[in-house]
Amino acid sequence: MELEPLPERPSGRYTPQHQCEGDVSLYFYQGNGMPDLGEFQGANAEALERALRHADKGCAIEAEAGAKGTARLVYEVNDDHPTLNRQLRITAGAGSDVTVYLVFEGGAAGGEVNFLHYIRAEAGAHVKIVKVQLHEGNVRHIEHRYAETAEGSSVEYVSAELGAKEAVVYYKTDLLYDESSFDSKSLYLGKDKQIVDFSYWIPMQGKKTKADVAIAGALQDEAKKAFRGTIDFLRGSKKAVGSEADTCILLSPKVHSISVPLLLCKEDDVVGNHASSAGQIDEDTLFYLMSRGFDYQGAQAIIVESHIRPVVDALGDGALAERVLQTVRERMNSQG
């Protein structure tokens, strides 16, 4: 993706709030702590290069075989540290179960978050990343996330993209070994002239691999959303199942929704599905809610909330879910 250059800003050695529970370890490191990412291209070549070569302070989360635990990281952008050029490396040992909560918040004029993840899930491991992005509208948020799965492992993402001027995420997950799986659910609420850009690349080569990508959201004002999803059934992925869905509620005549859900298939014994839909809120439902005493905006907010509710529920953290819902309500209510 092409991005307008931002002015260079100093980047400090800011340490995010962090907390661990259970049998996982978390530590910070300087310099590049990433393994060779092969052909991983990221959201933008220049931003990926910066995250690889000039990262400020990386964070590593590790779990031994069979371990179970959670880690929480809160990254805040403000005038003291307006840019965050960061890495996050997660290594989950065989049979482990790791959940990482990531919260991005705050704002600064010309602020930027450029965040590179690497996830390695060993055989039978489960890694879940819950991300809530609540930046103010003066921040550019770029996220590159690359995951490698071993046999029988699973990677799960739940994301809420609610802030930033531009939110650009690029997720690549390799399902090259048998019975590995990837599940991603995302919600967004585009407002003002915000750009929300999702890209997914899922090469599937292992037998009985499974991929499920779902994006649900709404656009208001002059917001723009792009969804590019590629499920690539490579030769050998027998009995693999892949699906991607993109559903978008359009709340203003000036919004712009782009959906490019690709299914590439070189293996016959697979099932691939994609679906996308875009449209207004159903008038009958709106009328029904208004007849029960809600005003127009309130009724709209309820419908949008019910649309994104499955993703909110999947966050798996009551406080975070409540914060996401509160943000959605505030953004809906301030609709111009």
């Binding site: 656009l219 782009i258 299914l263 016959d268 599905n273 679906a275």
Partner: protein, 478 residues
């Protein structure tokens, strides 16, 4: 009883013989004779020669030369199928057969007549068509239309005649929907186009049985660049069928035709195509329609042949309430790369579109659905529905769907779904338990899969398509 049984056996034998013949219908070769052909390659001299041979007006020569200049300045497309084996320097862009255009089959030279006889064109004309055009290499050799339609003001003629007799109309419409600047092969078409058909249906006239143009490319290493222009005035209705075939040679052939369809307010145009080019053909065709208020364009396409195809019929829904219906099936076998799809641009309120695409790939064939739906800000209340289904018959094949959906206003209703899969083992088992062989069961399931396309075609063409599917499944189509 004995007579009835004997009759039944005879009928079956006739059916089998007819079916056996079918496998050779398309791939017979005629001696390559011609009255004139240009040198291979593409130069200004060749373009000037084609124009001079046709005694064209100056504006058309100027148009050709401008297109040639654009061709030289445009790059070959870098997306999509590999066309690096197509060398324009080896392609003969104009081959005039050994005859002038005739109004009677009796006057068409025997060898050419025999070609179209074997393709069943005169028979179809007698039984189910209101008019026929037959193009052999670069020129139309036969054209006819029912007298009753002529009386109603319907025009169906070859493009050269149209250029002479209706020059102003042609000049006003020629390559206005597909400008030469559109892409490299549109520019090529503008420079060397030859042959094709012109159809004009006056306001309110309903042409109840179809018109058909058939394009046969016989010359090895040649290109076919026919131009089809159809104008359907307000409230009129017509069904146009296009058939294409060529024998197989061991050199590349090129088809870069251009179809421009103008559909008026409340008018309906159905454009059906059964393409069965030989497997040395690069089919890089461009088709585009613009539709007025409450008008309808129906595309029905069956893409079977060619080595490589890039074909995405485009509909511009320009008037309020305009509608597009696209129903297509693509079947790619060994060595084929068929990149097909549909593009719809919603430019007016309450416009609607339905895209229903099916593809089947077998023996290493590659089917790509590449489509696009664009709903522009003016198209309030637009509705669009896209459905792509891909069937893979073995593990060597490939099937991709590449849709793009762009929505630029909030008052729309858009749905898209796609699926890729194989024939279910359970369904095959069920049919086999009812007495069918495995091959028969699979053929039946494939024919069921493409039924929406068969149903949209006139009976004769649905039968032809089913036969093509049978042949593809048997792998006997060359």
């Amino acid at each position: 009883m004995a007579n009835a049984a004997e009759q039944k056996r005879k009928d079956e034998r006739r059916t089998i013989e007819a079916f056996s013949d079918f496998s050779n219908i398309y791939n017979f070769k005629k001696d390559f004779t011609y009255s004139y052909k240009t040198q291979a390659g593409l130069t200004e001299d060749i373009v000037r020669t084609i124009s001079a041979e046709k005694k064209e007006p100056k504006w058309m020569l100027d148009f050709r030369l401008k297109s040639l200049d654009i061709f030289h300045h445009l790059e070959y497309p870098v997306w999509g199928p590999d066309i690096s084996e197509l060398h324009m320097d080896d392609i003969v862009t104009y081959v005039r057969p050994n005859t002038q255009m005739k109004a009677s089959w009796d006057d068409v030279p025997d060898d050419i007549k025999d070609t179209f006889d074997r393709l069943g064109i005169p028979e179809a004309e007698k039984t189910s068509l209101a008019g026929v055009g037959a193009q052999y290499d670069s020129e139309v050799v036969y054209h006819s239309i029912q007298e009753e339609l002529v009386q109603q003001g319907v025009i169906y003629t070859d493009f050269e005649t149209a250029l002479r007799e209706y020059g102003d109309i042609i000049q006003a419409h020629f390559m206005k929907l597909v400008p030469p600047t559109d892409h490299k092969f549109a520019a090529l078409h503008g420079a060397v186009w030859s042959g094709g058909s012109y159809v004009y249906v006056p306001a309110g006239v309903d042409v109840s049985i179809p018109l058909q143009s058939y394009f046969r490319l016989n010359a090895p290493g040649a290109g076919q660049f026919e131009h089809t222009l159809i104008i359907v005035e307000n409230g009129a209705k017509v069904h146009f069928i296009e058939g294409c075939s060529a024998p197989k040679y061991n050199v590349a052939n090129l088809h870069a035709g251009c179809v421009e369809l103008f559909v008026g307010d409340d008018a309906t145009l159905t454009y059906s195509t059964i393409e069965n080019w030989s497997k040395n053909m690069y089919n890089l065709n461009t088709k585009r329609a613009i539709v007025g208020r409450n008008g309808t364009i129906n595309w029905v396409t069956g893409s079977f042949g060619s080595h490589t195809s890039c074909l995405y019929p485009m509909s511009i829904l320009q008037g309020e309430g305009a509608h597009c219906e696209f129903t297509g099936v693509t079947f790619a076998g060994k060595g084929q790369y068929l990149d097909t799809g549909s593009k719809v641009v919603h430019n007016a309120p309450k416009t609607t579109s339905n895209i229903n695409s099916k593809s089947i790939s077998k023996d290493g064939g590659v089917c790509i659905y590449r489509g696009s739906v664009v709903i522009n800000p003016r198209a309030e209340g637009a509705k669009a529905n896209v459905s792509c289904e891909s069937l893979m018959l073995d593990e060597e094949s490939q099937s991709d769907t590449i849709p793009a959906i762009v929505v630029k206003n909030d008052n729309v209703d858009l749905g898209h779904e796609a699926s890729i899969g194989r024939i279910s083992d359970e369904a095959v088992f069920y049919l086999m338990s009812r007495g069918l062989s495995e091959d028969e069961a699979r053929a039946m399931l494939v024919k069921g899969f493409v039924e929406p396309v068969s149903k949209a075609l006139p009976l004769e063409y649905a039968v032809e398509m089913n036969n093509l599917i049978n042949l593809e499944l048997k792998g006997s189509l060359t």
